[in-house]
Subunit: 214 residues, 2 copies
């Protein structure tokens, strides 16, 4: 059986990518066949190379628009023939043409969507005075953090939290939620009915989709 193939787009340090390398790629649950970054020196590129995974730094050309740039990205991703595209801290809004021609794309966002979409979600949560926040893994559609929810995990916002301390605690949830979601996709356990997404039980009666771990 051909192993499930993942392409990962990343802009940053690559901690979500590292979770996928350690808990999905090396255990053989799925193969990360490509890591692409829009930033030349992204930590994600180094992590991929260290793991022996094809790593492509592909920064936009000067003056290159969002659509043209993503046509180049699409070319590279399509060559990798992936079953799923994972946005692991990828900081660019995807053009709808890109989304339409790709396999399913999932993203992890550091808030309980629809609360605090967009940039700096942990800082938004603190400014609002939220007492509970968390992370959301969702399918990517044409909007900004508007796609159907795959899973969510929650944690308390602490009185002493700063945007950084809150984001750091959320990142642990992100890693677990992303690994769980990718594992569920790779094992064919994801059922999608419009915005209602559920994890099916596996052959042993276990659910991959434990959204209850809050």
């Amino acid at each position: 059986m051909t192993k499930y193939r993942l392409a990962v787009l990343a802009s940053g340090e690559g901690t979500n990518l590292q979770a996928l390398i350690d808990e999905v790629h090396f255990p053989g649950i799925a193969n990360i066949v490509l890591v692409l970054s829009d930033k030349e020196g992204a930590g994600a590129i180094g992590r991929a190379r260290t793991a022996g995974i094809t790593a492509v730094p592909l920064p936009p050309l000067p003056g290159e628009g969002r659509k043209l740039y993503h046509q180049r990205v699409a070319g590279v991703v399509q060559q990798a023939s992936s079953d799923l595209v994972v946005l692991a801290g990828y900081m660019r809004l995807l053009p709808s043409e890109f989304v339409a021609q790709m396999p399913p794309i999932i993203n992890v966002h550091p808030s309980l969507l629809p609360a605090f979409p967009g940039l700096d979600a942990p800082a938004q949560a603190l400014a609002y005075g939220a007492k509970i926040s968390g992370c959301t893994v969702h399918l990517v559609d044409q909007g900004m953090d508007t796609g159907p929810v795959i899973s969510q995990r929650a944690l308390p916002v602490l009185p002493e939290d700063t945007p950084d301390s809150l984001h750091n605690r959320i990142k642990f949830l992100e890693h677990a939620a992303l690994v769980q979601a990718v594992t569920a996709f790779a094992s064919g356990q994801v059922e999608i009915h419009y915005r209602n997404i559920q994890f099916k039980e596996d052959n042993h009666g276990n659910k991959t989709g434990v959204n209850q771990r809050i």
Copy 2:
């Protein structure tokens, strides 16, 4: 010492009011001095009378506007000299003039705000495909469910949930969160810095404000 005085506005069945009667009023943490309902036959009126609490059904007059109606409500509430006004399933948006002339007003909403404000929050959460929801106790300002958050509690949305089953589970969280918040107000343990609201420690080093119980 004069006991802390609560006025409760309710439109519905009165289950949040009942929690306050059982866990705040009868234990002597605060006195509910008035229950006012905009509906003649609201369950809340019956519950108040059964508990020996002053109950005022005050339906709007035919054609009476929101502002004029709430001037009458304000008159009744102000006569009761309450320290805090609690909206326990009160289904009308309060005019800003009303909010401005009242003691602090708190509301409990069946979602993790800012997600799913307004009517039918549990149905909104299901339609969105949220995997985690909960309740929010907040200070009331001029907006619809926009005031500073006092506390939030979370629960998982289950695959088999209907709007009713989800709302019923959220109601248990609402009761606990509301009782906790009112207790904290009555014991002077609420610190408000703009949108950042915290519960202080009491003399025994305990926090009333356990938002962490998720």
